[in-house]
């Protein structure tokens, strides 16, 4: 007991937690040797020093958009990833043990899967209960008898390990399905290297990059063909999955194309990626979705995430899937009661790292023992034995007698569905409170990747810590946190530069070339919505300023015109003049996300699409989109909303939209992705300008100058006009500037010229033969504005301008046709699928 712990005088100590092992301090209260350099370093920098470094770490997590998605909370935004700045250190002796034990366990689990999907001797000889295999929904019969390439099912094996009070390590759960968290471990490492670079070097621990290189090599080596440069895709269930951030992060880091099931197509037993340039063969699939959802034709028919026919390609051996389809069978704790015997049977070795004591209640004796134990206070964790049972583990510690009786009843109804695991009092680790250290419980997820016929262990891992000292639940989903894990190997890593950590390896990414049609579609719409967001904001700003500065005669005059234009663009209701109503209308356009085409609504679309394109936008561009959220939160109090606040918010939206465009312009490679983003943007900008012109200047107006003034303001052309024409406002000059002047980046002609350029550079349409339509339309549009004489559009004798009206109508129709043609040729491959039964 240390009563001074964690106080300002002793910020680097904390109150000891009873009944568990302490990672940092030994029983006498002395700092363990492998923690000493870190402790000394922290002491030297002081609490203020750590806090100021950590504020940079937090900013990095926020700016990089490191998030996770909470269950039952579908959203693109995600929650910020909870990380603690103090790493968890594992000493050299422990690390040597864990490394060897992880390799053995990975080999064991691979051998178990190879047997269960092959000869099934373990079931025939009753080493494993038949119910757990043959009665298990995770046992995929389509895979039975399919040979895994090289006998390898698990290309990554992962285990959650923890220490009991005596300091011994135990496995809480095995992860074989599609082990997650390695990307978060890497992200944690990047942050902790930024926050504590000097201490990392002093701690003599290893870097993670070599592990990921091995992982990448293993995946490359799986390719049945194109071994020199295989096409590898990371298959994600999509943006609603818990670890979507990690999927896009790993895809970028490893240089793979991130795809969803709908991006892939099986043709003649070969998997293809649907891209703008047509179908490209896929050699390896890094699978991050559950295997039972991988092929609606042979596995779960209700899956909309899968690739119909994938199993045929797997059987034909034209594609490798990592981990192999079927690997989910060994995920969780189902095998825990049997691992010791399995290890002797299959490997002829004693198991080095045992599971926490676990019983399968399908065994009547085990059920009797557990039922008996539940009569009194006990510390067990009830877990599902297989998918489809209870999903969340139930901790019996602290349950009332009544709840324990209920639980016993539930167990006895379907005992085969349950496991009872002895609860491990997870060891205590220090976390940073902002002013000192405090204790939490932790478990560590370790990773091993296949290397030849053995495995290589990641020298680190993902530590997860409980939300409070009293809790043994370490789920990030349940308020827990995470930490970087430093495996203190005792050897000074030569790659480490003391001052400047080397950046992660950057590979030439073929992702740049492989643009899935779905991603192109999303980029196209992102371009359109960003433009709509900006255009809508500009109109709204003009209207708000008109209301705010009523004394300004000039703005007051153009106010009704702006409102009229807002209505004509389908944004505001028409015919509003009563100031209170106008004001209400404008603020609702700004803040109400349910209001279609309003600023918030458009921002929501932009954020949604941005989230889907996380792996394709530069981090700066993405950050700008990410920050849109905070701009558009309506100030809660005091009501009513103030117009000035609104106009400031609009200003910020405009700045964000413009800087997003700037980042795309400056930092996106000129690949097809950028092209589709820009095509979307140009089409929308041209359409908007045409709508404005058609509504304002095709008919004779008494107050035409007010209209011209508003038009120039909204399209951001006032300055250009005034610098070019010192005369007063004239319709012909404004029309020239907005429609025909190819040098003006806001003009219709400018947009059409860019479109024509883009379309010439698109790849040959995969649909074939349609290319001419887009090219012809683009050329027709551009020629129309280039050859038209201004005096035909604007006759000198005044009156209505039917020629202008006709021309604008034609351009508008041709633009719609162009958009539809592009969609048909390039973007329509990702339509919805329906099951037939």
């Amino acid at each position: 007991m240390n009563s001074l712990a964690g106080t300002p005088t002793q910020p680097w100590r904390y109150p000891k937690l009873d009944g568990c092992f302490d990672e940092m301090f030994d029983a006498s209260g002395a700092v363990r040797a492998h923690w000493e350099p870190l402790r000394a370093g922290l002491e030297a920098m002081g609490p203020e020093g750590l806090e100021s470094r950590w504020s940079e770490g937090r900013r990095l997590i926020h700016d990089n958009g490191v998030t996770y998605n909470a269950y039952g909370e579908p959203g693109i935004a995600g929650r910020p990833w909870p990380m603690d700045p103090v790493p968890l250190l594992i000493g050299p002796e422990d690390w040597r043990f864990l490394e060897a034990a992880m390799i053995q366990r990975a080999r064991l689990f691979n051998a178990i899967l190879a047997d269960l999907y092959g000869a099934q001797t373990l079931v025939r000889r009753r080493v494993l209960p038949a119910e757990l295999v043959l009665g298990n929904p995770a046992f995929l019969r389509s895979v039975h008898g399919v040979e895994a390439p090289g006998g390898m099912f698990l290309h990554v094996y992962s285990a959650d390990v923890a220490r009991s009070a005596d300091g011994r390590w135990h496995v809480l759960a095995d992860r074989t399905q599609a082990p997650s968290g390695a990307g978060y471990a890497l992200e944690n490492r990047i942050v902790s290297l930024r926050v504590l670079p000097d201490l990392f070097a002093a701690a003599r621990t290893s870097r993670l990059a070599a592990y990921f290189e091995k992982y990448r090599d293993t995946l490359v080596g799986l390719a049945p063909r194109h071994r020199d440069n295989p096409r590898i895709v990371l298959l994600t269930p999509g943006p609603f999955s818990e670890a979507y951030f990690e999927h896009s992060f790993l895809a970028r880091y490893l240089g793979f194309t991130m795809v969803e099931g709908a991006d892939l197509l099986v043709r003649d037993e070969q998997v293809y990626l649907k891209t703008l340039s047509g179908l490209l063969p896929v050699d390896v699939i890094l699978r991050r979705q559950n295997d039972s959802y991988s092929d609606p034709l042979e596995l779960r028919a209700d899956s909309i995430l899968g690739v119909p026919g994938l199993m045929q390609a797997v059987r034909a051996g034209t594609v490798a899937v990592a981990n192999a389809i079927g690997s989910g069978l060994a995920d969780g704790s189902m095998l825990a009661p049997f691992t010791g015997r399995l290890c002797r049977e299959l490997l002829g070795e004693d198991l080095q790292l045992a599971s926490a004591a676990t019983e399968w209640l399908g065994d009547p004796d085990a059920l009797a023992r557990v039922t008996e134990a539940l009569q009194s206070e006990c510390s067990l964790v009830m877990k599902p034995a297989m998918a489809g049972g209870i999903v969340e583990p139930v901790f019996t510690a602290g349950l009332s007698r009544l709840r324990r009786a209920e639980l016993a009843k539930r167990l006895s109804a379907r005992p085969g569905r349950f496991l009872a695991q002895r609860e491990i009092p997870l060891s205590a680790v220090p976390v940073w409170t902002g002013s000192g250290l405090a204790a939490r419980h932790a478990s560590i997820r370790l990773y091993a990747t296949a290397s030849g016929d053995s495995y290589r262990v990641m020298p680190g891992g993902l530590a997860r810590v409980s939300g409070s000292a009293a809790s043994l639940v370490v789920s990030v989903q349940k308020g827990g946190g995470s930490k970087d894990v430093w495996a203190v190997t005792g050897e000074l890593d030569r790659q480490v530069s003391l001052l400047r950590p080397a950046p992660p390896p950057v590979d030439v990414s073929r992702a740049t070339f492989d643009l899935p049609s779905r991603a192109a579609d999303n980029l196209f719409w992102l371009g359109r919505y960003v433009e709509r967001l900006e255009a809508g904001s500009r109109m709204l700003r003009a209207a708000l300023l008109g209301l705010i500065q009523e004394s300004n005669p000039f703005l007051a005059a153009s106010r009704p015109v702006v409102l009229d234009l807002l209505a004509a663009s389908g944004l505001a209701s028409s015919g509003l003049s009563e100031p209170a109503l106008v004001r209400q209308e404008l603020l609702s356009l700004l803040y109400d996300p349910g209001r279609q085409n309003g600023v918030s609504w458009n921002a929501l679309q932009v954020r949604r699409l941005g989230g889907l394109l996380r792996d394709r936008l530069s981090s700066d561009a993405w950050r700008v989109l990410h920050q849109l959220d905070s701009v558009l939160v309506a100030p809660a109090q005091p009501l009513p909303l103030r117009l000035v606040t609104g106009s400031e918010a609009v200003d910020r939206v405009i700045v964000h939209a413009a800087s997003f465009a700037g980042f795309c312009q400056e930092s996106m490679t000129r690949g097809q992705g950028w092209r589709f983003l820009d095509i979307g943007r140009r089409i929308d900008r041209a359409s908007h300008a045409i709508e404005l012109l058609r509504h304002s200047l095709t008919v004779e107006r008494r107050n035409e100058r007010d209209w011209i003034q508003a038009l120039l303001e909204i399209t951001d052309c006032s300055l250009t006009y005034r610098s070019r024409y010192l005369t007063s406002l004239q319709a012909d000059l404004a029309i020239d500037l907005l429609l025909i002047d190819e040098a003006n980046p806001r003009s219709v002609a400018f947009q059409l010229a860019r479109l024509a350029e883009h379309i010439e550079l698109l790849p040959d349409a995969p649909a074939g033969g349609r290319r001419r339509i887009e090219s012809r339309l683009a050329l027709k549009l551009l020629t129309a504005v280039r050859v038209v004489p201004l005096d035909r559009l604007v006759p000198a004798d005044g009156g209505n301008r039917p020629a202008l009206e006709a021309m604008l109508t034609q351009i508008s129709a041709d633009l719609d046709e162009l958009s539809a043609a592009l969609t048909r040729s390039y973007l329509s491959h990702a339509g919805p699928a329906q099951p037939l039964g």
Binding site: G135, G145, P308, G309, G837
Partner: protein, 281 residues
């Protein structure tokens, strides 16, 4: 008996389908009481190729894809099969059948073990077990008890083609006491499994005969494992499956052997028509 069995499934779409992938269980398998003389599968529009494989239950599963736009899909299976009478089962107590699956290590018993546990469409629960136990008195011969169970299902459940669909859960069928051949088969299987017996779902065709239901479309019945082998019963018609029953495939339940399964891209609304003909030759 020699039969020609023709099974035609046609999908009509309101909008063109750009791509479809299908897997069908339409090729009759040879087994103890059946010999397949000839069989052919026709698909319209014609796919580039049809790939056949033997699935994990020994059935023949065929796969094909149509990669050009189409607004209808017609799959026709045309087979000539010889159906033999089912051998008389030895009168063994049903408990012996149960224990054999649990304890024996021979291939037959191990294969039967795949059919003892819950499967997605045929899950057991206490009420089902209570229902089953009325037919399974201690020591009663397996065939007699299973026939008794199927007879009760035939009487207690109403055949109603409108009441259920492929996705109706077995619990609802049991509560409402109505359904079609596939539902009755799932109920019987759940009952048998609740007692620890191995039971499988048989998909096939029924020769049209007076008083029999289920001949106009594909039919389904069950098979239960005994020490002498598998015994087939048809709970929909309260008969042992015999010379009128043409076997196509078997599995744990409908999901393993659905005659046609597929995924289509596009297509809008679709309608399906199914027709089956079994003609004695």
């Amino acid at each position: 008996m020699l039969y020609r069995a023709t099974h035609r499934t046609a999908y009509y779409y309101s909008e063109p389908v750009s791509i479809c992938h299908n897997q069908v269980h339409l090729t009759p398998r040879s087994c103890a009481r059946q010999r397949v003389v000839e069989t052919a599968l026709h698909v319209e529009p014609r796919p580039a190729r049809i790939t056949s494989r033997t699935d994990c239950f020994g059935n023949i599963a065929a796969s094909f894809a149509i990669l050009e736009p189409h607004d209808r899909l017609v799959v026709t299976a045309d087979s000539v099969v010889e159906v033999l009478a089912q051998a008389e089962a030895e009168p063994v107590p049903w408990e012996a059948a149960r224990d054999r699956v649990r304890d024996a290590a021979d291939d037959g018993a191990f294969e039967a073990m795949h059919f003892v546990f819950d499967s997605p469409f045929a899950r057991a629960w206490p009420a089902v077990r209570n229902y089953a136990e009325d037919s399974f008195a201690a020591g009663r011969p397996l065939a007699e008890a299973a026939a008794c169970l199927c007879g009760r299902i035939h009487r207690d459940f109403r055949y109603d083609a409108q009441a259920t669909s492929v996705t109706t859960p077995v619990e609802e069928v049991f509560e409402e006491r109505h359904g079609v051949c596939q539902d009755f088969a799932h109920i019987a299987i759940a009952c048998l499994r609740s007692l620890g017996l191995a039971a499988r779902y048989v998909s096939g065709y029924l020769r049209s005969a007076p008083g029999m239901v289920g001949a106009e479309a594909s039919h389904a019945w069950i098979s239960v494992y005994g020490p002498g082998g598998w015994i087939d019963f048809d709970p929909t018609n309260d008969v042992a499956a015999g010379l009128n029953h043409v076997t196509v495939a078997w599995g744990r339940d409908y999901g393993d052997v659905a005659p046609v399964r597929g995924v289509a891209l596009g297509g809008g609304e679709h309608t399906v028509t199914v027709s089956v003909g079994v003609e004695p030759l």
